[in-house]
């Protein structure tokens, strides 16, 4: 079935209001036209969306990975419980540092707290956390009822800072805010930027110092990226926020370049760091061999020293020599296959290159909580109409910090570099998709089912909620949120691990048993006796 027919068929089932809404969230790529997609708008009640909430984006994604802080979730037990160890943001204890990554903290609000307020309980919970753990800092994340009953978590945080002498950050990330996890990213970005980043001493950073922004160390991706960058000679000041610490975060302003992996979740901070401290940001992609090489070359060119450029090429050659053979082997096993990609706010773009390197074409891609700029590129930002849901998320405006603002490269040089690399720029997903492929925002259950049936890809890269729907149809599904508990998938070595996992999933002999033998061949045997007329 053609893509157009397939999308039309999906639309036919929808009630008219749903149809009117959903058709704006999908397109068939046509490079002859300027294509617009609707994104970051409300999901429709009753439509089975994969989206989560602001709390999930704030605590679950951005602040949860910070390992030396105690993250107290103020609310009923569930919200903290579901975000406990489920996102695979790995964190390693260094020396005698504190690491709370395997702990889950909640005020476990009860009915009486809802009726009489939960402030007293929260205050006491903070006190208990300090007495027990003496952490570097504490975060408080609000859940739905907190905002509704009016607990003033900001005031409590301020009081607690005075009482305990450590920083206590309050995040108003109630689940109903915004339209998806994305609102939570923004809320987390604002507070970290306002209250933590830049509070460390301003020092002259090492020459090749970088921050890796929007890298959450899922399956150890951040470690593989760090391995490569360290090998070349970079100093990583802070990874935001995978395996990150409070101390590192405070010093994020002490770097000469910010590289941005996940644009959606962290672009607010990268922009603000540039405005306030003068550190430019470079959009990078450490997923896939070619993209990793491109990223490394861009980084080297930014710093511009021949020694670094040469070292970069040396490392690339060395790394390639180790992976070319196995990658070729897996490519042979996957060549000619097709993929659907439906992941968060970056990976549906990032993984297309890696898939292609092992011979797999992406025929459908979409984000769960991306904005128009993640699809169409940042040039579209001034034209995005903000709806009420987005306007309710406060926007933090920072200004140039005259004392701490510093340009590593002169502006003229920066402008010249912008012609060559995505410095302060992201072109989005659509640009790189082939003509005739489908782009869908906030792909829902019904659309997933219909598209899988019609276009029969060989692999569906999505999350746990879709995985078994796809596999019931005989289509391998690879979780790209949790990597099916494998990884790392980033960088050079990660590419091979990904290729191996995908190849195994597509080629596992287990698929061959779906149809039982008695449904493949006739089992009633008989013979026709001459002279007897069969009836």
């Amino acid at each position: 079935m053609s893509c157009k027919k397939c999308l039309d068929k999906v639309m036919d089932t929808y009630p008219s209001k749903v149809k009117k809404n959903r058709e704006k969230h999908m397109l068939i790529k046509d490079s002859d036209e300027t294509q617009e997609i609707q994104a970051n708008t409300r999901a429709i009640p009753g439509i089975i969306t994969n989206r989560g909430c602001a709390y999930a984006g704030c605590k679950g994604v951005v602040i949860g990975p910070l390992r030396d802080m105690v993250h107290i979730v103020h609310g009923p037990v569930g919200c903290s419980y579901y975000a406990w160890g489920t996102r695979r943001n790995k964190a390693k204890t260094k020396g005698d540092e504190k690491n709370f990554i395997n702990y889950c903290f909640t005020t476990d609000m009860q009915e009486s707290d809802i009726v009489f307020g939960g402030e007293k309980k929260l205050r006491e919970a903070i006190r208990e956390a300090v007495e027990l753990f003496n952490p570097a800092a504490i975060t408080i994340s609000a859940t739905c009822p907190v905002g509704l009953i009016g607990d003033d978590i900001k005031a409590i945080a301020a009081e607690a800072e005075i009482e305990h002498g450590i920083q206590v950050l309050a995040f108003d990330c109630e689940g109903y805010k915004g339209v998806s996890q994305s609102a939570g990213h923004h809320i987390a970005n604002n507070i970290l930027m306002r209250d933590v980043i830049g509070t460390g001493e301003r020092v002259e950073p090492p020459k090749y110092s970088v921050n890796i922004l929007g890298e959450y160390n899922i399956g150890g991706d951040g470690w593989e990226i760090s391995r490569i960058l360290n090998k070349i000679g970079y100093d990583i000041v802070s990874i935001m926020t995978g395996d990150g610490t409070y101390e590192e975060l405070k010093n994020t302003h002490n770097a000469n370049l910010n590289v941005v992996q996940c644009h959606r979740s962290i672009n607010y901070i990268s922009e603000m760091l540039e405005t306030k401290y003068g550190t430019p940001w470079l959009k990078v992609n450490f997923i896939g061999v070619n993209e990793t090489i491109k990223t490394l070359r861009n980084m080297a060119e930014y710093f511009g020293d021949q020694e670094l450029i040469d070292r970069t090429e040396e490392v690339i050659a060395e790394e390639l020599s180790e992976i070319e053979e196995p990658l070729e082997l897996f490519k042979k096993m996957c060549e000619g296959k097709t993929a659907f990609l439906y992941v968060g706010g970056s990976r549906a773009h990032h993984y297309q290159g890696l898939l292609k390197e092992i011979g797999i074409e992406t025929v459908m891609a979409g984000y769960e909580f991306g904005h128009r700029d993640d699809y169409e590129g940042r040039d579209v930002i001034p034209y995005i109409k903000l709806d009420a849901d987005t306007r309710n998320i406060p926007d933090l405006h920072v200004e140039k910090d005259e004392k701490q603002y510093r340009l590593y490269l002169p502006e003229s040089k920066l402008e010249a570099l912008k012609e060559k690399m995505p410095l302060g720029q992201y072109d989005g997903l659509i640009k790189e998709m082939k003509d005739g492929t489908i782009v869908i925002d906030d792909l829902n259950h019904y659309e997933t089912e219909m598209l899988l049936k019609a276009l029969k890809p060989d692999i569906f890269c999505s999350g746990i909620k879709d995985k078994f729907i796809s596999q019931k149809m005989g289509i391998f599904s690879k979780q790209l949120h949790s990597y099916d508990y494998s990884g790392p998938y980033a960088g050079f070595k990660g590419a091979v691990i990904f290729a191996k996992d995908v190849s195994a999933g597509i080629n596992t002999p287990t698929w061959s048993h779906i149809t039982p033998p008695w449904k493949k061949e006739p089992i009633i045997e008989g013979e026709i006796n001459e002279g007897v007329i069969p009836c």
Partner: protein, 454 residues
Amino acid sequence: MLNHTPKEIYEKKSLVINPAKTCQPIGAMYAALGIHGCLPHSHGSQGCCSYHRMHLTRHFRDPIVASTSSFTEGASVFGGLSNLKTAITNVFTIYKPEIIAINTTCLSETIGDDVGSIIQDADVPEGKVVIHANTPSYAGSHITGFSNMVKAMVTYLAVADKENKNGKTNIIPGFVNPGDMREIKRIAKLLGVPITMFPDTSGVVDSPMTGKYEMFPRGGATVEDIAAAGKSDLTIALGRFASEAGAYELEKKCKVASSVLKTPIGIEATDALVMELVRATGADVPYELEEERGQLVDIMTDTHYHYHGKKVAVFGDPDIVIALTEFFIGIGMKPIHVLTGTPGQSFELEVNEMLNKAGVEGRVKSGGDLFELHQWIKNEPVDLLVGNTYGKFISKAEDIPLVRIGFPVLDRSVHSYLPVVGYKGAMRVLEMVSNALLDKVDVDASDEDFELVL
């Protein structure tokens, strides 16, 4: 691993660390999946529905589909009426379930949405049904949510008919795996007792791979089955915390007698279920079942030295933990730490009574957390830990083997297909317990003590 948990017991009043429970809606969602053709619906923010689907999917490794009212800030201020009505229309038009089972959340409960009234006003197609349960996340636990949804099934669906009793026995299985539900049905079948099981998630969350995706798989109790539960002679509720409320509601509404038993884990609890079915229906116990029981007793005796006298910490959901504690006492183990996250004093009373009777001195707590359990273990070590996957942090920190029983099990597979209930299930528990202890013996043994036969 969990390096910051001190040995010295710290009495917390407000902070819960490493909870041993989660919130009501996920239990309600699981119960709702036990109705055939049902789409569970979460009336709250999207995140709740997403988290619950995620967690259930990880435990069962099968598609768990549910819809949400997708609350935004506006809905939270003005109420969720419009969202829910829209959702009901969309769900019936697009997904075409037989029934929608709505659970509330802390959000919709706090703002006071009257879901019952909204349903009455909603546009429900002819022949289709919408039910709801109030499941505020700030009271009870996921077990309470399961119980509330089971009760809602009765309230909405069961029909009394004293004149036309159908001679059946209802069984409410509790928050157990589909493998357990199948085993309970098999036992009833062996006894020749016609039953209606509800909820029944077998055939829903353990559906086969056929190359075709069925949004509503074959399994589940039908709406008609649950309606006819009002004509049965008896309801057996397995596990007080998860199943009692549904059975009592059926007694109140339809005058169906009720009997509350333990979740049938272990020989005594299984005996109790078999005896209840025999007493109620006059069924004969067939040799096949007697043989299974005899095999179990044989195994228990033959392998007693693997576990006799071993100290064990048991945690998880109250009905499962109560039954496991009884079983462990019955095979000579010492359950010295017994904890559930679900609140309920009766848990403590019941377990303490069992321990007292057995002469085991132990700590028992309802509404506790795993931080507390860890502190107990640091002060009084155990040989074995039995509970859900979240026990693995303590298991690693203290080098204690963990047997995974209960919900959720996120790091091992196949568990949901195989029973822990019934005589067969008891054999499986014995195998898991023995193997865990013996694996540890092998790993820890010096070369000269490393034995081929154990």
